[in-house]
Structures are given as C-alpha cells and as structure tokens.
Subunit: 249 residues, 2 copies
DNA sequence: GCTATCTAATTGCATATGCAAATAGCAAGC
DNA sequence: GCTTGCTATTTGCATATGCAATTAGATAGC
C-alpha cells in the first residue's frame, strides 16, 4: 500500500457528500483500520481521490476533529487521535489510574479464573444465544493495601482471542483489554446493592452494607467484548459528573 | 423592538468570525434573552446586520444546531430549542416523567417545608459563605401508590425569588424549578448508602437496606439555584447509559 | 556540527455564487 | 368551506477562489 491508506476511503452515495466522507473516515477509525497515530491523507489528496472540492473535504474533517476522532495541525497534517482515557463520569476507566489519581498505591490479585463455556447466568449477561467460550475472572483491586473494588469479568474469546494466552499477572484484565481490544459501544448500569457474605469478606466490610454496583457491557460492532460487574464499598466511593443544560461542559 | 432581537447579536472581535457569531447567539440563548421558542433571525438578516457572508453565518448556525441549542427547518426558519428533558443517564430529569415512562401512576406529597436561613450543614451543601435565605423541602414521590424516591431539596431564594410564593401543592419542586428557573451548570454525585430509620420508614424498606443516593447541585452563572438529594431504594432502581469510545452515541 | 533562514506543504478562514429541497401562506377553483 | 396548486422564503449543499497562519524540513551560513 504505497498510498498510505488513501484508497481505503470509499463513499457510499447516501446523503450529502461531506457526510459520506465523514462517515467513511470515521468507520476506518472505529474499525481499527486506521489506528491512533495513523496520518490521514491531506485535504488535497482526498479531494482528488474523491472528486470533491476542498471545502467539502474540509467540512468533513473539521467535523471529525470536533468529535475528537482526529487532530489536525497546519503543515503537520491530520492524524487519528487516541480515544480519551476517561470522560467525566462513567467512562471506561482504568482502575489503577483511578486509584493512583487518589494518591494511593495500587495492586491487584486474581482470585479466580475459569476458561470455557460460561454458566447460564453469565451467558445471559451478554445476551448470548449459545454458550460461547469465555474467560471468567474475579479480581480484587487494592488501594494502599485496602480493598478498593471487586471485579467480576467475562471476556468473550471469539472477539478477543488473544486473552486466552494472557495470564493477567502483571496487568489487570480491564487494562489489558483497553490495550488489546477495540470497542465501539458500551452500556453502563448503576445500582445500589447489599454486600453478600463472600463479597463483604473480600471487601473488608460488614454483611449487608451498601455497595455501588457498576455493570458494564462492551461490544465491538455487534460482537460482545466483555462484561464486568464492579462492586464498590458504598461509603467510600462516589461518582461525580458535571454538565450544562445542553450537554457536558 | 421591531427587529425581533436582531440587534441583540453583537460580535466581540475575538477569534474567527463564525465563532463570534456562534458565541453571540449561544450567549443570548443561555442567558435567557432568547428563551426556547424564540425565532432566530434568518441567515440573510444576520448576514446584513453583521456584515458577514451567508456561508459564514450559516456555519455558525449549523454548529449551534448540532450542539442542540437551536433547531432549523427550511422555510420555517430557525428557533431556539428547548433543553432536552433528559440525556441518557444523569441529567436533570423530571421525576413525574420518569415514573410515567415506567407506566405507573404518579403522585407526590410534601412532607415538610421550612423557609428561612438554612441549617449550617445545608449551607455547606451549597458552599455558601453566609447563611442565605432558602426554602428547605422534603418530598416523597410515589409510583403506583408505592414510595418511589425521597427528595430533600434546598432552593436558593436570592436566585429564584418566585419560589417563596409557590405552594408546591400541584407541581413538585423539581418540575417547578425546571419551568421557572434557568441553570447553566450542574454537578452530580452518585453513591450507595444505607437507609436510616426514618428514611426506611418513608420508603417502605428495611433499616440499613442499600439505597442509591443522587446528589445534585445546580448553578446559574455562579449563583446557586438548588441542591437536592434523591434517595432511591437500591433494589428497585438502576441508571443506565450508553456510549462509544469517543463519547455518547 | 550548529544555528538562522527560507520554502513549501498543509490547514484555517472568509467570500461569492448557484442551485436544490422543503414548505408556509396565499390564491384559485370547486 | 374545502382542496389544490403556486410562489416566495428559508435553509442545505457544493464549488471555486484567495489569502492567512503555522511549521516541518531543506538550505545556507557560521
């Protein structure tokens, strides 16, 4: 490919041209065909390749830049941006980072690992029709030596085959996935639950004490990637977000 | 004002023209000078008034439309949009709407009301230096006759003077505020807590049962508007949100 | 080798122009 | 009154053009 990916950009003829261009490039980014750091062809090249005027190409690129998918600099050109590590409140976040931001030492331990077909209730989490092979992990994260959060995670091996060969001894599963998998959509649910006996013991709190439960499921283009339940001791954690009437600020 | 607000649009000379126009109109909307429903002058009028080309005016308006501040239709023109009632997950929402969306009958009752200087811990909520006059309300919201959520709210009278004359008998405080006040910034915090004796009784749950606590503080340009604590019985409620790696979807 | 300078590539912005698409409101016809 | 069709208004989109700002990389000078 001497063209630096130029001819991967294809229009589909649906809707305004600037939007076709925008979607074409967006898809290349989200599919991983153009990973972060890839340089996007300059406006003139796209203009010739696509037979559109520079202003039309420009419009598409400006919009993508505002959406955060690419960054642009005069003379240097346009490159695919790295996804922000964490938006305000509920984004995919790295627990080690979360802990260190609070100024604490971080460590973690894998409490259990099971490879194979998931239990029925685990399959249900993913809304899987058939029991597909997964890795089932329970991890405890520690902050300054104290239990911070309990993580129960299922990794869908069909989508992330590399996970089978990973021991998760040095990198916790969530962080490993952030580096080794792509995701295009996630769903969060937040609720309050009482700690069960085993959970209470692992978190060093009393039975029945309130905990904040974060459940997150992640997909990449229809394929499930991972599902995780994070159980935070209630008293010690809060999630905070800020916004204005028309959206985030 | 025969000009329909046209000459309220003023440029400040800072940065690109299209962005000056965008900010000028945005500020008129956010300040309440152009409330929802107000019609924005057509592109030709702005173009003449501001001495910019139509494409430049167009660019500003298109961007505002994408941000959700205005809606545009061919021939009908451009009007200021109503702020969305509820974004995905944690936005200012109307509890009656929330309940009705679940298909339940809604009702509410004011359990207590106290006007005057706030208690110290209430003033602290707002980060107020001095004890300013407030209304302190405790409300219980019911869904199909069952307790749905307990609301404790403080309304800052200096910012929302009209609240003093409102009985909140027909419209719950949160909804009344949505209609009678403006806000430019809000902060949420989510945590899990155990129900206290009085709270448990009011919510019809057992003492110490887990509850989801949503704390929200709202400002309008530096002035506090209201602070509220919403206590949801844990088992019965979850908050859900969906997004992609670069933001909401 | 190091630094100052120049050049050219690339994006940013604004204008002028023309046509297309949607549609509110009016007019005509029944 | 009701429907049908017309027309003018307003936004949507694309092009062509020109200049400004930034700066990576080459070049020249020391």
């Amino acid at each position: 490919m001497s063209d630096n990916g130029l001819d991967a950009v294809k229009l589909d003829g649906a809707g305004p041209v600037y939007d076709q261009i925008r979607r074409a490039i967006r898809d290349l980014v989200l599919n991983g065909a153009w990973p972060p750091g890839t340089s996007v062809p300059p406006e003139h090249a796209l203009m010739e390749r696509l037979g559109a005027s520079r202003m039309t190409v420009h419009r598409a690129l400006v919009q993508l830049a505002r959406e955060g998918l690419i960054t642009r600099r005069r003379r240097s050109g346009t490159v695919v941006a790295s996804p922000p590590a964490s938006h305000a409140m509920l984004d995919i976040l790295s627990i080690p980072d979360e802990v260190r931001r609070l100024g604490q030492d971080y460590s973690f331990e894998i409490l259990s690992r099971r490879d194979g077909k998931p239990a029925p209730e685990v399959a249900a989490l993913f809304e899987l029709k058939r029991a597909a092979p997964v890795i089932h992990l329970v991890t405890r994260h520690l902050s300054g030596g104290q239990p911070h959060v309990l993580e129960e995670r299922v990794i869908h091996l069909a989508t992330v085959p590399g996970a089978a060969d990973e021991s998760f001894e040095t990198v916790p599963p969530g962080d490993w996935l952030l580096q080794h998998s792509l995701w295009s959509q996630a769903e969060h649910a937040l609720s309050a639950v009482a700690a069960g006996p085993r959970e209470a013991e692992l978190l060093g709190i009393g039975r029945g004490e309130p905990c904040l439960l974060v459940e997150r499921r992640t997909w990449n283009q229809e394929s499930p990637v991972t599902a995780v339940r994070l159980l935070y001791p209630g008293g010690r954690h809060r999630f905070v977000g800020r916004f204005g009437p028309y959206g985030r600020v």
